[in-house]
Symmetry: none
Subunit: 188 residues, 4 copies
DNA sequence: GATGAATGAGTGTTCATTCAT
DNA sequence: TATGAATGAACACTCATTCAT
């Protein structure tokens, strides 16, 4: 395996578990079975490792969101799909998802940055996806009447909460969550 | 105001916004209008500032949880109280609450530590509080039949999600959240 | 006991065992059951503690040397007296003697300093005492013919070696040393 | 010359003249024409510079002692060799020898340490070498009757005194010392 | 691609010392 | 005498980064 991949893997894990500031370039190089200068051959610096990792995570994440949007379904099914997707994501790639929801490094946290933009983008997309579903569902009578803006916020909070889960969620928890949402949203 | 309090305040804010590793002792001293050595007069080191801050936050937090447990109410009202408390807490002391739910510094993260214990303690108390309410509510017919363990997890996820909220939540969001839970839990 | 004496005692012991640079003012104050500022009430600084301690040790030491010089005896007995005196001194006040022969702190080691002068003074006095004895002894036939300058150096080396002894010397060692010198110096 | 050697040389000299605690890493780096971090590239810290220097000095020193033990000679000649060796050593490498006999830094002075062990080793070897010579010499009638243990101590004191000599000893002093020992030990 | 050696800028921490009381 | 609070200057050490090969 090319060492560049080693570096990315090691850095991803370290950033996820120790944070950006808590991770040193020596640690990365050691965990990647490489030397420090090699890092600087492949990346311009520690910042760029972080940036490039986050960018590719977001790209992947956005692609999966897009897939969901293409499907036609009942509005609740669409929301269910979104929730299940996030449960799957933390099960499959916990480091990556942990990075997506963790705080940005202080020094890189000015707005206008790639991850800042991506984070806002993520929020916008989720908000759009959820509020669209809710609005349509309410219109068609599938959902109860409810304040769309607030319920969107609540659902987003839950999505983020799912991503912050450290232990792998069991199937029972996933199903219970879906059921829970069903009782809150859907007209019986 | 005694400078020790300045230091605590400054450190709390910096740790909350930049993380432990992203915060330097110089920054703390400057923000506290003090010199660096003074930090070391009042604390044994950066670690202890963090530890002592977290300990006192947890103490305060646990005291508030205890208060709630004393009250007699319907089971849903008890859960509502818990949720509203957390909304109030992030509104009143966002830095402190942010610290409670943020990742522990890598170097201090071995189990057996004060915050490790406190964090586990917090989880245990919330779990106990919530599952007690749920069980009783189901028994008395106040709540629908539901898997207690999973619903407890979901509610805890929501509590944590509330604490991670960065913007002050509006009254409408709080009420909507309570309403949302009501529809999921309570028999109509 | 007045705390000033405590400070002196503690400082003497610490300087002797850890050196000047290896001893901190907090250590001194703690061992003396005093606070740091009190040190600065009694002394102008760490340097002066050292200086004053060394000065008083040297004063005491020189007084004892002077006593010896007053006595009339055979030349060997005078040398024997000198050797025995030094054995007694390290037995009685090891910290003080250790300080006399230990290296001076780097920062205070310019010539012209009190201890520099005292150290040179000590050397001069010992040299004078010993070479006088040797010369007279050779003249009177009590001692063998020998190069006075070199034997003086050797005897001084031995005196200093005695002072550097860390363990308390037994009576047998003292007597053996005297006997040893006797065979080297005295005509049989 | 590789800079690591520079560092070792500079540190050896500074430790010998100013002591461990009186020497700063900046001083070492400046004297070695290097930067401070380079010290930490080659050594794990100030402690290890000291440790590694002392270890290699002791290794060299023990090797020379071993050489002496191989030679066959009269017992006095063997003792003479030992004394002359030490005179040569301080002439050739005064810093190194000064370090061997100087006090260990307070913080590294617990028993079980490398230098602690080496120092004890040195003492044991010298004691063994000298007392062997003395015993044999007394048995064969080469030496006068004398208490072996005490005379060994005295000779060791002299050896250490030689090593503590700061000025280069002249040939006359060396010869006088040998002569001095001869009169004390050997039967005429 | 890959590395051993090297560095400027900073980090947490300690030191001797002072101030106000 | 005595001290709690405070500080300027320095210290050991680390960090991200670069250079020469």
């Amino acid at each position: 395996m090319p060492k560049k991949d080693n570096i990315i893997k090691a850095a991803t894990h370290l950033f996820a578990t120790q944070g950006f500031d808590g991770t040193t370039t020596i640690q990365i190089s050691k965990d990647a079975d490489a030397t420090e200068p090699l890092i600087y051959y492949h990346f311009t610096g520690k910042d760029e490792i972080y940036t490039s990792i986050l960018t590719s995570i977001f790209d992947d994440y956005f692609a999966r969101l897009k897939e969901l949007q293409g499907k036609t379904d009942t509005q609740f099914k669409k929301i269910e799909n979104l929730v299940r997707l996030h449960f799957q994501l933390i099960a499959k790639m916990p480091d990556e998802m942990s990075l997506i929801v963790s705080n940005r490094p202080a020094k890189l946290n000015d707005p206008g940055n790639v991850y800042s933009k991506n984070t806002q983008n993520q929020e916008k997309r989720l908000k759009y996806y959820l509020s669209s579903c809710l609005k349509k569902g309410i219109e068609t009578g599938e959902f109860k009447k409810m304040p769309v803006k607030e319920i969107t916020s609540i659902l987003m909070m839950m999505i983020y909460a799912v991503l912050r889960q450290s232990a792998k969620p069991g199937r029972k928890l996933v199903d219970a969550t879906v059921e829970f949402l069903y009782s809150s949203l859907v007209v019986k």
